[in-house]
């Protein structure tokens, strides 16, 4: 249970293209942070550097303010849950959980008691005599979690822990992991490429791309105030509508449509962002024909063919339902719209657009 600090952390297998390119980060004690990013963005490399498996090329890793760069992986007391769970197939579940304690030189009965306590916490106390191969995916996941937690780690690292589980189990484990993490108050880093996992579980999200941190903040911050088009398109499901526009003295021309602009910018080339959940059917607004329909249960995702291309929007099932080919109009509140600079892909603060 430690405070973790990363200072300008860098890892370069090849000098010209670093996998992790200068990361600065500060994690509070007991915090659950999530590193979110597409595959190959350096999130797993960061994780393995924290664990001490990889040595950083440059930069510092600090646990509670002490530099641990040169501390061996086995002495860092870091618990990892791998995507493959990495259970030891030759040992029973109990021995798997006891394995980390073996090196702590605890008396046997004390170690076993701790192992049983943690097994109870993750609810696998009935499975202790089994072999990993006799367990289901979800049970293996719990064993891996127990093994990572039994040594009372300074830091818990979860590397895509849910991606091998089926949908219901994933939902279940998401809240389970959060519950256990809060109960033990262990500083945790969750690596994932699934934005739902990140937003539902984490206190803070670290959005990474190409080895760099793009944005760091609470899930709400990332959702409402993404710093760039990358973050905006990564967070939120279904993904944000993005379309290109031209700034023509306070009027955004996007295809054949014109939008009014709130706020001012001297940038000419813009990208407009609009979340499907912020769009409503309206009397006045953009006209289009329904193109695709995806029922999601409580809501229906419509694809509307407009003059700027397809715009996706969500409508509650309780409202009137539409068929393919129906003519509808949509509108939205300007406060929920985002505008990005097309060249730098950065968000332009307090610039919005609306239907004229």
């Amino acid at each position: 249970m430690a405070r973790i600090t990363l200072k300008n952390l860098k890892k370069a297998w090849l000098a010209e293209s670093p996998a992790v390119d200068g990361i600065n980060l500060e994690l509070k004690e007991g915090e659950l942070a999530s590193i979110l990013g597409p595959s190959g963005c350096g999130k797993s490399t960061t994780l393995l550097m924290l664990a001490g498996i990889y040595a950083p090329t440059s930069g510092e890793i600090l646990f509670d303010g002490e530099i641990v760069n040169d501390v061996e992986a086995r002495d860092r007391n870091v618990g990892i849950v791998f995507q493959s769970y990495a259970l030891y197939p030759n040992m029973s579940v109990l021995n798997n959980i006891l394995f980390p304690l073996r090196f702590k030189k605890l008396p046997k009965n004390v170690a076993e008691k701790e192992a049983r306590n943690i097994a109870e916490l993750v609810m696998i106390e009935d499975l202790l005599e089994r072999r990993p191969s006799q367990l289901s995916g979800g049970q293996q996941q719990r064993v891996a979690l127990a093994r990572a937690l039994v040594k009372k780690p300074n830091l818990l690292l979860l590397d895509e822990p849910l991606s091998n589980l089926d949908a219901t189990l994933r939902l279940n484990m998401r809240s389970e992991i959060k519950r256990i993490q809060k109960e033990l108050e262990v500083t945790t880093i969750l690596v994932t490429h699934d934005q739902i996992e990140a937003t539902t579980m984490a206190d803070r999200i670290i959005c990474m791309n190409k080895g760099k941190i793009i944005q760091l903040g609470s899930p709400e911050e990332l959702y409402k105030k993404p710093v760039s088009k990358f973050v905006a398109s990564f967070i939120g499901s279904p993904p944000m509508n993005l379309f290109e526009g031209q700034n023509d003295d306070g009027v955004i021309r996007a295809g054949a449509l014109n939008f009014g602009m709130k706020g001012t910018t001297d940038k000419k080339n813009l990208i407009c962002g609009l979340r499907p959940e912020n769009i409503n059917i309206a009397e006045q607004g953009i006209e289009g024909t329904i193109y695709t329909i995806e029922p999601l249960g409580r809501e229906i995702l419509y694809g509307l063919k407009t003059e700027t291309g397809i715009i996706w929007f969500l409508e509650s099932t309780s409202n009137a339902e539409y068929d393919i080919g129906n003519l509808v109009r949509i509108n939205f509140d300007y406060q929920n719209t985002l505008v990005f600079d097309r060249d730098t892909e950065e968000r332009l603060d307090s610039v919005h657009f609306y239907v004229e």
């Binding site: 618990g79 791998f82 197939p89 030759n90 980390p100």
Partner: protein, 356 residues
């Protein structure tokens, strides 16, 4: 379009197709069994003949009549055995099998029982078999008791397989896990060495062993056969280690194990099947070794089973086929026992590594 499809469905005679498929499947299986039986006969019959000769031949002559009599009982017996095994279950199967077994044995005993004797196996208890056969003072003292050759063979096989297993395990692990300069070249080299026949190096090896002062000792052939077979075994072990996921090792290390402990507790148990497999292969190779044990001795300084068998089959013993067969059977037994006990492990040996 839809109409055409439904019409073609209506005329399909599913029952006829199912019957046809069944017939073809049955024919295929029948053909396969026939083919395999025919192919295995030339392999099984010589072994069986050897066994029959060893128990029935009297000085010089070979009683082929015994073979035919025995086969005429045993072939129908095996067929009946298979039929019973397929068609009956539980206690009825056991009863039927015992009954046919007893009947077959009784008939067999009445037919050939009078011809069966153990005289050909007298070399097992007679320390000086040459004198026994050719009278006193014939090459006496030169030719050893069979147990001496047996112990020597056991020594060669055990020590060489121990060396092979030890070296190939460590080398395989290193090649699988560590990158070092010249690793690809080393791997290619291993394969190239294996491609040359060992025979072409006999003279240089003889000289080398002479310089080392190991001529006429068992250590000569042990070292040489270990060296010659190591490349292949190293390659096989590398394949097994490649099959062990990295995650497991990383997990062990972050659980507090040193690299060596991780290897010992976590990685090694997972290549157990591979170690057993190459251990058995190495043992059998050492057990059957003939070329180097004959070429690296100048007189009759040591005897192993292969050279013993060779001399028994030579004129010096006055070609006694009964005894040749008996020695062969005796020579075969250790390999057979190993195969029977570790069959399962041997079939797991694939170039790719560990199966499921």
């Amino acid at each position: 379009m839809i109409q055409i499809q439904s019409r073609s469905l209506a005329v399909t005679d599913w029952k006829r197709l199912a019957l046809k498929a069944k017939k073809i499947r049955r024919l295929q299986i029948g053909f396969l069994i026939m083919f395999l039986s025919l192919v295995s006969l030339p392999i099984i019959i010589p072994y069986f003949w050897m066994l029959v000769i060893s128990f029935s031949a009297r000085t010089g002559g070979v009683e082929s009549a015994v073979l035919w009599k025995a086969l005429s009982i045993l072939v129908p017996f095996v067929m009946v055995w298979i039929l019973i095994h397929h068609n009956l279950k539980g206690s009825r199967r056991v009863f039927a099998l015992t009954l046919t077994g007893i009947i077959a044995f009784t008939i067999l005993w009445n037919l050939v029982g009078a011809d069966v004797h153990l005289n050909n196996y007298r070399f097992l208890i007679n320390a000086n078999i040459v004198e026994d056969i050719r009278g006193p003072a014939t090459a006496g003292g030169q030719f050893p008791w069979v147990w001496e050759a047996f112990v020597n063979s056991l020594f060669v096989a055990t020590v060489s397989s121990f060396i092979k297993v030890l070296v190939s395990t460590f080398a395989g692990y290193y090649l699988s896990r560590f990158s070092f300069k010249g690793r690809p070249g080393f791997l290619q080299g291993l394969l190239v060495i294996d491609a040359f026949p060992a025979m072409i190096l006999i003279i240089p090896i003889f000289i080398l062993i002479y310089w080392l002062g190991l001529l006429d000792t068992l250590y000569g052939p042990i070292l040489v056969i270990s060296a010659f077979e190591l490349p292949f075994f190293i390659f096989v072990m590398k394949g097994f280690f490649d099959g062990v996921p990295w995650d497991i090792e990383m997990s062990a290390i972050s659980d507090g194990a040193t690299r060596r402990q991780a290897f010992w507790y976590v990685v090694l148990p997972q290549v157990r099947a591979g170690i057993i497999a190459i251990g058995i292969f190495a043992f059998i190779k050492g057990w059957e070794e003939y070329v180097f044990v004959t070429s690296l001795r100048t007189g009759t300084s040591y005897w192993v089973m292969s050279t013993y068998l060779f001399y028994v089959a030579q004129d010096i013993m006055g070609v006694d086929y009964g005894m040749v067969a008996a020695v062969s059977v005796f020579y075969l037994i250790p390999s057979l026992i190993l195969y029977l006990f570790f069959q399962k492990n041997l079939t797991q040996m694939t170039f790719g590594g560990v199966k499921g």
